[in-house]
């Protein structure tokens, strides 16, 4: 097994043994979506109109929750230092950790999102675009989040700083994710928005490892 997959497997094993992250992300996602009908009232027309936006915004916030621990635990116990001194380039390790993070948090979000959309009476025509958008969008959330997590390493109240750094960068994902659903419902087809999300994903996979690895090296100096 290559070093890359060994690192992914180790992060997955840690996540499963510690158990908290995925459950916390999903619980936050579900609870915050459930708040909306209480706040804005249960009228189906209103909920239907804002459903796509609510699901995407809460998914974004839920993804933020687990980011702080992405490198923090490894930084604190010295593992990050040891990882940085392995032959496998730090850039590849960032990608491996993002992949593991996405499998633990992004994938459950994708599975739960349609159920929550059902709760909010999203137009049935919008489901394929919701799922496709989440499949393309959630990995971007993990990747961009990795830059924020690396930059806020060692900072006091890193979690707050992380949110401030990362949330503005999430805006394009939010725009195209919601636009894809709206376009599908109105019969235009979600293709252009999904293609833009795919382009963002390609860009993030190509650039994030370098930015995050540079930030990690600075933190270790």
């Amino acid at each position: 097994m290559s070093a890359f997959l060994t690192l992914v497997a180790r992060d997955l094993r840690l996540a499963l043994r510690q158990g908290g992250d995925a459950a916390m992300v999903i619980a936050f996602f579900v609870l915050s979506v459930v708040l909306f009908p209480f706040a804005v009232g249960p009228e189906p027309e209103l909920l239907q109109r804002i459903a796509a936006g609510i699901v995407w915004v809460t998914a974004l916030l839920a993804a933020l929750l687990s980011l702080e621990r992405l490198f923090q635990a490894d930084y604190e116990d010295g593992s990050l230092e040891a990882l940085a001194l392995l032959p496998l380039p730090l850039e590849a390790q960032v990608l491996a950790k993002c992949l593991a993070h996405w499998l633990v948090t992004g994938l459950p979000l994708i599975i739960v999102a349609p159920l929550l959309a059902l709760l909010l009476q999203l137009d049935p025509a919008g489901y394929p675009a919701l799922i496709a958008g989440m499949v393309l969008g959630t990995p971007i959330l993990s990747l961009i989040g990795a830059i924020g997590a690396a930059l806020s390493l060692g900072a006091r109240r890193g979690g707050v700083l992380l949110s401030l750094l990362v949330l503005p960068l999430y805006i394009p994902v939010l725009i195209f994710g919601v636009a894809a659903i709206e376009a599908e419902i109105q019969g235009f087809g979600p293709r252009p928005d999904l293609l833009l999300l795919a382009a963002l994903l390609v860009l993030a996979v190509g650039l994030v490892p370098f930015a995050a690895a540079a930030a990690l090296r600075l933190a270790l100096e």
Binding site: L85, P87, P89
Partner: protein, 221 residues
Amino acid sequence: MPPDQTLRTTGDFTGQGLACRRGERLIFRGLDFGLGPGGALVLIGPNGSGKSSLLRLMAGLTPPEAGSLAWNDSDIRQDPGAHRARLHFIGHSDALKPVLSAGESLAFWARMRGTSAPIEPALARFGLADAAGLPCRYLSAGQKRRLALARLVGTPAELWLLDEPLTSLDSDAAAQLLAAIAEHRAQGGRVVLSTHAPIELSAAPRLSLADFRPTPAELLA
């Protein structure tokens, strides 16, 4: 086990005119060293004199403020990947996860370096054969230290950089470590270690960091 071929390089690991700055403070300057195959270097000096910083410089974790480090006359910054592949760095922290067992932890670090050999001999060598299945959170400080040191013999690497390796070790484990170091050097490996303990390594020059402390005038510059 046959001696590993990777330990058979010739040429010296040298540092010239090294200076190190942590934050605003210049810690040492004008430091030279040379380390040939089978050689060892013992770093001594009071707390804060820069023993750990020098080891981090040697590992390539921190860039030197001035001067250069070279392996066989080629600067280590020219090929950081090759430098990382030939070294083991054991710092102050043990880089262990509370939820992984001792065996899993050691296997992870070995696999990350591309070794597929069983890890039991390395565990047994440091008296951890019975603890292999125990999660690291149940290990004592000394056992954790032994486990970190077992990484040295789990995978071959030419250069061992050890930051106060004797901390919390009992006399048996310390003897084991010294035996492992002697064996490593007999095969052509090199060791740099920092210590406060009066340990005896054969033919190992002592480098006192206090000799390279900057003068008050240099501190102000």
